[in-house]
């Protein structure tokens, strides 16, 4: 009994000592966050919410986090980063693609501070130990959202409510850019996995945030005979157009159910909190941060909002849960190039693809990414590089 008591006491002491040191080190962490816009942009709001969630998880105080809003993709980003270093930040994070080269410049000057950049592509070739990229395998989330879309189309088809012969989806994209192409293709494939004859039209707006353009693009797609709309752009334009026209919508970046109760089905989004938790923990423990970090369903980075059962087809929640497990186990791959009549280009299966993984000035493709029966998205670097135009998806316009 005494022995046991001593053992428990020793264990308790060890644990308390351990947790004490961990807390002490977490106290030294100070996170600086550079944001392109502010709460008014769904893209930036998603990061801000991630910061707050991470603060709650790690018990960070308000003094340990500084946010700089409305920082453009210019020299001002470099200045903001250095100012955060002056404020004592041990980690500086920036959230917009165009921030990268300016953040890199700051990283070169401050070796003792960790610089983390979301959506960027340069970390794995820059060769700086204190500069890191991060993204999430959001294509998995889009695939799951696509399943909800495909099931809704099946429901419409069974009820004889399709506008045309075959089920047709519309997609409002920002730019004809790998991140968007990877997104709409995975969404399409998710729908196709349950509704094999689905086709899709994509219209680009040429802007990440343009409410009017997004609304009119969605309206044009609806008028062109689309039975369901999804989007990859940051405003409420497309969801609003769908609600007005009574067309089901699969959203992005967060739930739009409050404004669109009659048409919202489900939304996928990247949760950045796990990444913030990860980088703070690494710095607190004195460990290195991964050069490229790709969040997954398992890390909690790829999440779906609650399904709006009032609009979604029956069984959607169960089907999503089932596929989510299968994706996590590796039983199914989103970009499955081996399956018959799934991913085809000009009627042929995709057997090889050289993607532009290492960014250079001429954007030359450099890495074979099709192997073992699937396209290895977000494995050679965190940011997406799937930019294949596959059969079944018609691009109405292109916007670079």
């Amino acid at each position: 009994m005494k022995k046991l008591f001593a053992l428990v006491l020793a264990l308790a002491l060890c644990l308390s000592a351990f947790s004490f040191t961990a807390v002490a080190e977490m106290e030294d962490v100070k996170l600086g966050v550079i944001l392109l816009h502010d709460e008014d942009s769904t893209y930036d709001l998603n990061f801000i919410n991630g910061v707050y969630e991470a603060m709650a998880i790690l018990g960070l105080s308000e003094d340990q986090v500084i946010m700089k809003r409305n920082i453009p993709e210019t020299n001002e980003c470099y200045e903001a980063a250095l100012d955060l270093v002056d404020e004592g930040c041990t980690i500086v994070f920036a959230n917009s693609f165009g921030h990268e080269s300016f953040l890199l410049q700051a990283a070169r000057e401050c070796e003792d501070v960790q610089f983390c950049h979301a959506t960027g592509t340069m970390a794995h070739t820059a060769g700086l130990p204190n500069f890191h990229n991060a993204f999430a395998a959001i294509y998995e989330g889009r695939y799951l959202a696509g399943i909800a879309a495909g099931m809704k189309l099946n429901e419409l088809k069974a009820a004889g409510l399709l506008k045309g012969e075959v089920p047709m989806m519309g997609y409002v994209g920002a730019f004809t850019y790998a991140e968007v192409i990877s997104g709409y293709t995975s969404f399409y494939l998710g729908a196709k996995s349950v509704c094999p004859d689905v086709v899709m039209k994509v219209q680009f707006t040429g802007s990440w945030y343009d409410e009017m353009e997004e609304r009119s693009a969605a309206t044009a797609l609806i008028n062109a005979g689309c039975d369901l709309i999804s989007q990859h752009a940051d405003s409420m334009g497309a969801p609003t157009a769908c609600e007005n026209a009574g067309i089901p919508n699969v959203s992005y970046n967060g739930s739009t159910v409050a404004s669109c109760p009659n048409t919202f089905i489900v939304s996928s989004r990247i949760n950045w909190a796990p990444y913030f938790v990860y980088i703070c923990n690494q710095v607190a423990a004195g460990e290195a941060i991964a050069t490229d970090w790709t969040g997954t369903i398992a890390t909690g980075s790829v999440v779906l909002t609650d399904v709006n059962t009032a609009v979604a087809a029956p069984g959607t929640v169960e089907a999503i849960a089932e596929t989510m497990t299968a994706l996590q186990n590796g039983e199914i791959k989103v970009f499955d190039t081996a399956a018959d009549a799934f991913i085809t280009v000009g009627g042929e299966k995709l057997v090889s693809y050289i993607a532009d993984v290492d960014t250079d000035e001429l954007y030359t493709p450099d890495t074979e990414v099709v192997a073992d029966g699937y396209f290895h998205e977000s494995e050679f670097r965190s940011a997406p590089y799937f930019d294949v135009r596959i059969d079944g998806i018609e691009l109405i316009n292109q916007m670079y």
Partner: protein
């Protein structure tokens, strides 16, 4: 009852009269009072909108200290403040000659953006192919030419067909934005439209002092040069005459069209210089936000200084101070990005409003005096 109603209709509480002139100290007293009042209102608004202030995590003292901390908090902040002020000053100088001849050029944003674009286009196509010193010179020339062309087009139309220069220069801003958007698509084939920092074409800093010192010195030199140009040259005199009255200018034998075009070339060249400082000196890249609205802010800076280049140092400094203070407020109080704009807006509203009280006098009516006259 009826008679008292008549009284009120004929007897306003006060009326306004234009001042013939005002003592220097009086004008400044009014301005300082306006800023103080503006700051007080800002404090009130901040208190209403910031959770941190209301819950006592931050005090009003912290709030006001942000204005000093934002610009002078660290050595780096001080240099950044001086650099921001220098760039804004340069663009403000650019709009000034045209304003002095009452040519309302509100196209400095687009003219400067074209300067940035011109410099970066040269760096993009020739970077690494010609020696760096030569590249920098060609970039400079390209910036000047692009901005001057952008400024001279509306001037030509004004001189030849008397088109409205305000609308014309405004439209040219949008065209410039789309020119940049178009080239970003051409230059960045991956589709992200984000041109990172270019490797070549970086204006080297002075061998001594801060990296921004060169920009600051160039801007100061331009201020002095433009002051001399406007005050002590024949050109400057002609600008003033055209501004006073085009007919007088014509009568005295001046070619008004030529003066307009020449002055807009000067404006364009100064915008080109500002664009070069931004493109080669700071960003080594271009996007639609490269000028970031400074072309519009410059109008106010120039107007507040009554188109005097030396006084403009003061007004450019004030606006830069407010901007850096506002950014600091957003950061320290953790409020959304629109809030700092509200703060800057309130203070500028009071400053601009104070000009009214400097130009006009409020005369209170003597009690009931006029009314009794009516009754009789």
């Amino acid at each position: 009852m009826t008679s008292s109603k008549i009284n009120k209709a004929h007897e306003p509480l006060f009326h306004l009269s234009k001042r013939d002139g005002i003592a220097f100290w009086k004008a400044w007293l009014i301005r300082i009072a306006a800023v103080a009042l503006g700051l007080a209102v800002c404090g009130l608004v901040a208190y209403l909108f910031s959770d941190k202030l209301r819950t006592g995590k931050k005090t009003l003292e912290d709030f006001y200290y942000c204005f000093i901390k934002g610009a002078f908090g660290t050595e780096r902040k001080l240099w950044k403040f001086l650099k921001n002020m220098a760039v804004l000053q340069c663009i403000s100088l650019a709009v000034t000659p045209a304003f002095r001849m009452r040519f309302w050029n509100i196209g400095a944003e687009g003219q400067t953006l074209m300067g940035v674009w011109g410099a970066i286009a040269v760096a993009f196509y020739l970077g690494g192919k010609v020696p760096e010193w030569l590249l920098l010179i060609i970039m400079f020339a390209a910036a000047l030419v692009c901005s001057a062309v952008w400024a001279v087009i509306p001037a030509l139309f004004k001189a030849r067909w008397n088109t409205n220069e305000t609308l014309f220069t405004l439209m040219m801003n949008y065209v410039a934005t789309y020119v940049v958007s178009y080239f970003l698509v051409v230059w960045v084939p991956s589709g992200s439209s984000a041109l990172g920092k270019l490797k070549y074409g970086k204006l080297p800093p002075l061998p001594f002092g801060n990296q921004y010192l060169l920009i600051i010195l160039i801007s100061l030199a331009m201020t002095v040069l433009l002051y001399i140009y406007l005050r002590h040259s024949k050109h400057g005199y002609e600008i003033s005459v055209v501004g006073e009255s085009e007919r007088t200018a014509r009568y005295s034998g001046m070619n008004v069209g030529k003066v307009i075009i020449r002055t807009m070339v000067v404006s364009g060249l100064l915008c080109g210089l500002a664009g070069y400082l931004i493109g080669a000196g700071l960003d080594q890249s271009v996007n639609t936000e490269s000028v970031g609205g400074q072309g519009f802010t410059a109008i106010m800076v120039s107007w507040l200084a009554k188109f005097n280049p030396l006084v403009m140092l003061l007004t450019a400094g004030l606006v830069s101070l407010l901007n850096s203070g506002a950014a600091q407020i957003s950061q320290d109080l953790n409020v959304s990005g629109a809030f700092p704009d509200v703060i800057v807006g309130i203070i500028l509203f009071f400053i601009i409003g104070s000009e009214f009280f400097i130009n006009y006098r409020i005369v209170m009516s003597r009690k009931g005096h006029a009314g009794k006259e009516v009754l009789k």
